[in-house]
């Protein structure tokens, strides 16, 4: 037999797949943003939707884990951005900016949360504390059909969000809007209700099958000085609460703020807005100088620090307070000195100062923002006995005390409560996935592209309006598009273009390897931009 003309495509009868000794496998990996997000948001997923201008879908994906995007987009210290692989290429994706944009859009458009089920459960759950942890927990439970009642001792919901974060960082209307959307799921909110005073712990225990304690850590750690209450020494928590309650304090000319956390920076910036000369004394370093040493970096968000400095707040790094200097009852300033070490060898915060490096820092008011503790009064019957059905979360559960951590702990608590009530163990996603580091990323496939920031608006004395503008649709779309899609397939077609053997078949939403023809060269894995493809040895 011979053929003068050969049938087109007739080589498909010859299966070159026999040649290979390794084969590619498409595998989703767990990107660093999601991995570091204290609220365990699937950041990558909602960024992808945002880059596709599917704004509402992006918001819905985000709020699966965090019902407060407009809030968190403003106040979260965004560890996701520090972990973002894009930082090695140019600059990290402005994740919090996009998050805020989605939250703002939802408020603007009036998007409503949807329950996950029509089925109404009967088991009542109590949440103590209407801060981010409590709201997050209540939100997750309510979406799943559980009747939830939130109790809060304050007259407004929000917890630290309300009392501890100044208006210029988090406008009250934004917070209230997101809280209203959560409550709209049918959650009962009982304000001005302190457990142990207005309702007893035992009553609570009887009426509710599960209780989530998210009472926060609002008790300021104090400096051993007797000056509290005489207007020359104040805690950061109190200082901020008074300002957030609308009080416009009349401040002396020079103020020292002690501490390096967000409370310290917030207090300093508020004081600055009220016209004072402000110096922040903190024992930590600014970013970078002791990179990688935990605790050596200033815990406050760097953006906040930078904005504070831009507003005229002075920062004294690696300094600690030796003593308060008084002349009579009048505070004349603080003696500060160079810090040797910040933590002792047990890892406890325990600064040691160098003798002979003392300086005098004039100040008529010292604001101590050196940490907060949980106020357990009235809750003792709930926390001191080993009873099932009691869960603790948020700042009350320990460190780190960040709003996003609180949101995450609210979710975890809700899952644990549901597991307890239904007898079904909670399901956690992602935990079996491999990490994806910058080594797995092929930077040549990503164009360098400048990060879009929300515009900074001028701050004038006495002005507490919001400082940073939102991104807007265009910038948010562009910024979301900067996501490298670490470890997942974004249908770039590289494997499909480069396969010399037509062994990668494109399907509706992805690709499949045709084992009949794949010779196992490994080009697809080598050129996968996001590290989504692994090569595996095959026997033979």
């Amino acid at each position: 037999m011979n053929r003068l003309a050969i049938e087109p495509g007739s080589t498909v009868a010859y299966h070159t797949g026999d040649w290979r000794n390794q084969r590619p496998a498409y595998r989703d990996k767990w990107p660093p943003c999601g991995q570091t997000c204290p609220a365990e948001e699937d950041v990558q997923a909602w960024l992808a939707l945002a880059s596709d201008r599917q704004w509402e879908a992006a918001w819905r994906t985000l709020t699966e884990r965090n019902p407060l995007p407009a809030v968190m987009g403003r106040v979260c210290y965004h560890p996701c951005e520090r972990a973002c692989n894009r930082a090695h290429l140019d600059t990290a994706v402005n994740i919090h900016g996009v998050e805020r944009h989605l939250g703002d859009l939802a408020l603007q458009q009036g998007w409503r949360h949807r329950p996950l089920t029509d089925q109404q459960q009967t088991q009542q759950v109590a949440v103590v504390g209407a801060g981010p942890a409590g709201l997050s927990c209540a939100f997750q439970l309510a979406r799943r059909g559980f009747p939830v009642t939130i109790f809060d001792a304050q007259s407004t919901p929000g917890g630290t969000l309300s009392s501890g974060i100044p208006e210029y960082r988090l406008p009250k209307s934004v917070m209230q809007g997101e809280i209203n959307a959560i409550l709209a799921l049918g959650i009962q909110l009982k304000l001005n209700t302190r457990i142990g005073a207005d309702i007893s712990a035992d009553t609570l225990r009887e009426e509710f099958v599960a209780v989530f304690l998210a009472v926060g850590a609002l008790q300021p750690r104090t400096y051993p000085d007797d000056g509290y209450g005489d207007h020359s020494v104040m805690s950061g928590v109190d200082f901020l609460r008074r300002i957030n309650d609308g009080e416009r304090l009349s401040l002396p000319g020079q103020i020292a703020v002690i501490g390096g956390g967000n409370t310290a920076i917030d207090a300093a910036r508020c004081a600055r807005r009220l016209g004072a000369e402000v110096t922040v004394v903190c024992s930590q370093d600014p970013h970078g100088s002791h990179g990688g040493h935990p605790g050596a970096e200033i815990p406050a968000s760097l953006d906040e620090v930078n904005q504070a400095e831009a507003e005229g707040v002075r920062l004294r790094y690696r300094m600690g307070v030796q003593r308060l200097v008084r002349s009579g009852a009048h505070l004349s300033g603080v003696e500060i000195a160079r810090v040797d070490q910040i933590h002792d060898r047990h890892g406890r915060f325990n600064p040691v100062l160098f003798e002979g490096t003392e300086e005098f820092l004039p100040a008529s008011l010292v604001v101590f923002a050196i940490g907060q503790e949980v106020d357990w009064r009235g809750l003792e019957p709930l926390v001191q006995t080993e009873t099932s059905g009691i869960f603790v979360g948020g700042d009350a559960a320990g460190k780190p005390r960040f709003a996003a951590t609180a949101v995450g702990s609210g979710y975890q608590a809700a899952m644990s409560i549901i597991a307890l009530l239904t007898g079904v163990p909670p399901h956690y996603e992602h935990h079996d996935k491999a990490e994806v580091t910058f080594r797995d990323i092929k930077p040549q496939y990503y164009p360098r592209q400048a990060r879009r920031e929300g515009a900074l608006m001028a701050a004038s004395p006495g002005e507490f309006s919001e400082r940073v503008a939102g991104l807007g649709n265009e910038a948010a779309h562009e910024e979301a598009g900067r996501c490298l899609n670490c470890g997942i397939c974004f249908q770039c077609d590289n494997c499909w273009h480069f396969c010399p053997d037509a062994a990668v078949i494109k399907q509706g939403q992805g690709y499949r390897i045709d084992d009949d023809y794949c010779k196992g060269c490994g080009i697809c894995a080598e050129e996968c931009p996001s590290g989504h493809i692994d090569m595996e040895r095959v026997a033979g």
Binding site: M1, N2, L4, A5, I6, E7, P8
Partner: protein, 390 residues
């Protein structure tokens, strides 16, 4: 109505009548006048064809290969060194079974370089798989070109029409150029089933292996064997249409009753016919036979005509150095195969344009007629003084 035309012009007219769509060539003496005329027809808008000036004969052959593979009727012409430069592609055209038609304006092959006629060029590509038709006159050249397209397209085999350089190409003879309508009736438009066409994608010229190459070649041989009947049938059909025929494969002249028959090819036959007439008048039983179709080799037709001869002389203008005349050897083999022991004398002559005069031809006949023992290979009209010393 006959017109007095140069052979090249007459052939160009014939090509024109066949409506080729692509003509590609590279100039070489004595083929040049053919393509110059075609170029002029195209330049004047009389012939609607793509005229491609190739960068070499190798290119020219390749261009017509591509054109025919795309379903176009194509034409090229060459000679001598040019034909040898085409050789790789000639084999390829035949192996791909592409019905290309070309004219070889037969010329000697160097070295030493020589522009004049003999058959060493076309004979050297006898194994390439092309049908080879050798013509005697310009009229036959015209008619054979027209037949060649019919044959090629019917057999899916390439055809080389061999006409002697200068003796035919540059000679003016009265020639009847057929009417276009008559040619159109005889030669239908070219339809190539394997043409390159996106609507029916096919792969042409793919690889072969030890387990199928032999079969490809055997198929080619079979097609050549079958081509003999086709050539005869088409010549007969041509004669029905145009009242001119050439005997198909062989063209015998007064072989009936002839004891000595000279076999030759091409334009030499004209002089041989005259010599036969003269010798017949002198009472010698001589005849002649022109081998019109050299490939496929018409063994049966030859035996049929030559069975009665006592002696055969092959007068040919090509040879294989160290072996002798090519047709001579093949004819001997055919006779042997047919169980005939007729002696065959091999005479090489007319190389490099040397005139085979009636005197030389008559001497060949007379020597053979004496019954002198046949010589395997000898050179006619050889001037021993002019042979180079080694």
């Amino acid at each position: 109505m006959k017109s007095l035309l140069e052979g090249s012009r007459a052939v160009a007219e014939a090509v024109h009548l066949c409506r080729p769509q692509v003509i590609a060539a590279y100039p070489i003496t004595p083929q040049t006048h053919i393509i110059e005329h075609l170029a002029q027809f195209v330049a004047d808008g009389d012939l609607s064809a793509m005229f491609i000036n190739a960068e070499s004969e190798f290119g020219a052959a390749s261009i017509v290969l591509g054109a025919v593979a795309s379903g176009a009727r194509a034409f090229t012409a060459s000679a001598s060194q040019g034909l040898l430069l085409m050789t790789e592609v000639l084999y390829n055209i035949a192996g791909m079974r592409l019905p290309v038609v070309m004219v070889c304006a037969n010329r000697a092959v160097g070295a030493p370089i020589n522009i004049f006629s003999d058959h060493q060029d076309s004979m050297s590509v006898r194994d390439a798989g092309w049908i080879q038709l050798y013509v005697e006159s310009n009229q036959e050249a015209v008619d054979t070109v027209i037949q060649a397209y019919r044959i090629a397209e019917a057999c899916e085999l390439p055809v080389m029409v061999c006409m002697d350089g200068f003796f035919l190409t540059h000679t003016f003879e009265p020639v009847e150029i057929p009417q276009q309508t008559a040619v159109d009736e005889f030669l239908p438009p070219f339809h190539f089933a394997r043409a390159l066409d996106p609507s029916r994608p096919m792969t042409l010229g793919g690889g072969s292996e030890p387990d199928n190459y032999l079969e490809y070649r055997a198929g080619q041989h079979r097609a050549m064997e079958q081509a003999r009947d086709v050539i005869e049938a088409i010549d007969a059909d041509f004669s029905d249409h145009f009242a001119r025929g050439y005997g198909g494969l062989v063209d015998p002249y007064r072989v009936a009753g002839a004891e000595t028959v000279t076999v030759t090819l091409g334009s030499t036959m004209g002089a041989v016919r005259d010599v036969v007439d003269t010798l017949r008048e002198n009472g010698m039983a001589v005849g002649a036979l022109r081998l019109r179709c050299f490939r496929p080799f018409p063994a049966q037709a030859l035996i049929h005509c030559l069975a009665g001869a006592k002696r055969i002389v092959v007068l040919e203008k090509a040879f294989s150095a160290g072996a002798g005349g090519i047709v001579t050897g093949e004819l001997r083999a055919a006779l042997h195969q047919a169980g005939l022991a007729t002696p065959v004398e091999g005479v090489i002559g007319g190389l490099g344009g040397r005139d085979l005069t009636p005197a030389v031809i008559e001497a060949i006949f007379r020597r053979a007629a004496t019954g002198a023992s046949s010589v395997a290979c000898r050179f006619a009209d050889l001037n021993s003084d002019a042979a180079p010393s080694t």
